[in-house]
Amino acid sequence: MAEKILMKGNEAIAHAAIRCGCDGYFGYPITPQSEIMETLMEEQPWETTGMVVLQAESETSSINMIYGGACCGKKVMTSSSSPGVSLMCEGLSYLAGAELPCLVVNVVRGGPGLGTIQPGQGDYFQAVKGGGHGDYKMVVLAPSSAQEMYDFVDLSFELAFKYRTPAMILADGVVGQMMETVELRPMKPRLTNEQIIEKYSSWATTGKTPGRKQNVVTSLALDSIIHEQLNNTLQAKYRKMEEDDVRFEEIMCDDAEHVIVAYGCMARICESTVEMARKEGIKLGLLRPITLFPFPTNEINRLVPQLKTMMSVELSAGQMVEDVRLAVNGRIPVNFFGRLGGIVPSPDEVFEAFKKAINK
């Protein structure tokens, strides 16, 4: 087995980027994710794999650098935290419209506005419902450990290229700042220019060669018929993601009468809550969505008949709970518990809130 190294979730993202063959990182520092670019700068991958690491002059600039890199079929990424990701939303919409693959990491802090640098999950709507304008979706993955921060970098790129769509890792201040052991996966080399031409020359601007049609990457289509077709293509991709790429984890759900739905750091905290409930003889389980889009709607549907209640637990005023309620569709009560302002509740605080909700 490979050596396990103690590192922060943020550091894991940086090491994973280098080791999965990422071509370029463009970013701008912001707490609580600055360790991502700091680690990349320390590791100096431009000397080893040839990966570019560049501090842009703003988040707006970094997302547009990504647009440029993605047009060329390169594996490119950025990272930021909530206010910075808001600045990137215009770019994300353009990337989705132009069908470009890329990775954006959002280590979420409390909002709105400048908010707080403490952990939050208030960017759920922004990540899964749009953020930018127009009918688009991104693949959104929610890690809950340093190892998943590492593993989801490669997975995000895989899904981003599979669907030619932006992918987002929606983390939070806890998962970013916490140190845990991480096992580094085997090194993957970056693709050569020849390999990129071979794989992506049907759409990427890799340089026109005789006999190949000119590739135009744009999100602009002034002809309404063509533009509706583009939208239909996007929607078909999103339906395919919902069929093939939903990911989730279940803990003690087999005999559960109540289920907590939580992602990211809150899933870890609620896992302890489930252990507490089981000690008191309450049949509580945990459903942890790993992909927030596509959302595990079918799995919630499957669980509902055996359940008395569900409860969404978030560091927000209640965002994912709306998707849980859409899936449950009024069949059982769906409760909510959340804290705001960067406050992270402990497992016993969640347990108290759960007991209060089911005894109402």
Binding site: K4, L6, T31, P32, I117, Q118, G173, V174, Q177, M178, M179, E180, T181, C265, R268, I269, E271, S272, T273, E275, V344, P345, S346, P347, D348, E349
Partner: protein
């Protein structure tokens, strides 16, 4: 085995690095670990704390409200975390600068005069290792050999010449801990 620890004091006392060395020692001993710091605008002189969990099994929540052990190194942290020690748990503190000593009778309380002891050692930076030694004498959850291995992992190689001094500081802490309340 599962040990849930909060280490709290001033930034600059080595609170976060003590937690990191403890976590690395746990890894050397084959345990699962998490290290969750308070992070924020605090710099040297502000408050800092870190929650460290060492366990034989997979760790679920890295965020806790109750602790097996609280290691407390300033008054603000005493006010904040004395109540967080589980009944029967352990509170270790450095009396330097403490004006309100712990009142609880349902926990084990020990002191370690680490400011004075590290000054006697001639290196105030060994402060946190004296405290770590005191903790390990009461809760030998990792052995000294693995702590030294953990130190080597968490200290940059250019500073490895300081490891014998750190080891000595740990031993001083183990020896000089004083029991105030024992259950």
């Amino acid at each position: 085995m599962k040990e849930e620890i909060i280490i709290a004091g001033f930034g600059g006392q080595g609170v976060l690095s003590m937690g990191k060395i403890l976590a690395y020692s746990g890894i050397m001993q084959g345990q699962e670990v998490t290290w969750m710091p308070s992070y924020g605008p605090e710099m040297r002189g502000g408050t800092a704390n870190v929650t460290v969990i060492l366990s034989d099994k997979k760790i679920s929540s890295p965020i806790l409200s109750k602790f097996d052990t609280a290691i407390i190194l300033n008054q603000q942290s005493m006010d904040k975390f004395e109540d967080g020690v589980k009944p029967g748990g352990l509170l270790i503190y450095d009396p330097n600068g403490i004006t309100r000593h712990p009142k609880r009778k349902d926990i084990n309380v020990c002191t370690i005069a680490a400011v004075d002891l590290s000054a006697e050692l001639g290196n105030s930076k060994a402060y946190n290792m004296v405290v770590l030694g005191a903790f390990l004498s009461k809760k030998p959850i990792v052995n000294l050999e693995n702590v030294i291995k953990g130190l080597k992992k968490s200290i940059p190689e250019r500073h490895h010449s300081l490891i014998p001094m750190n080891e000595q500081a740990i031993k001083v802490g183990m020896e000089k801990i004083q029991v105030i309340n024992s259950l």
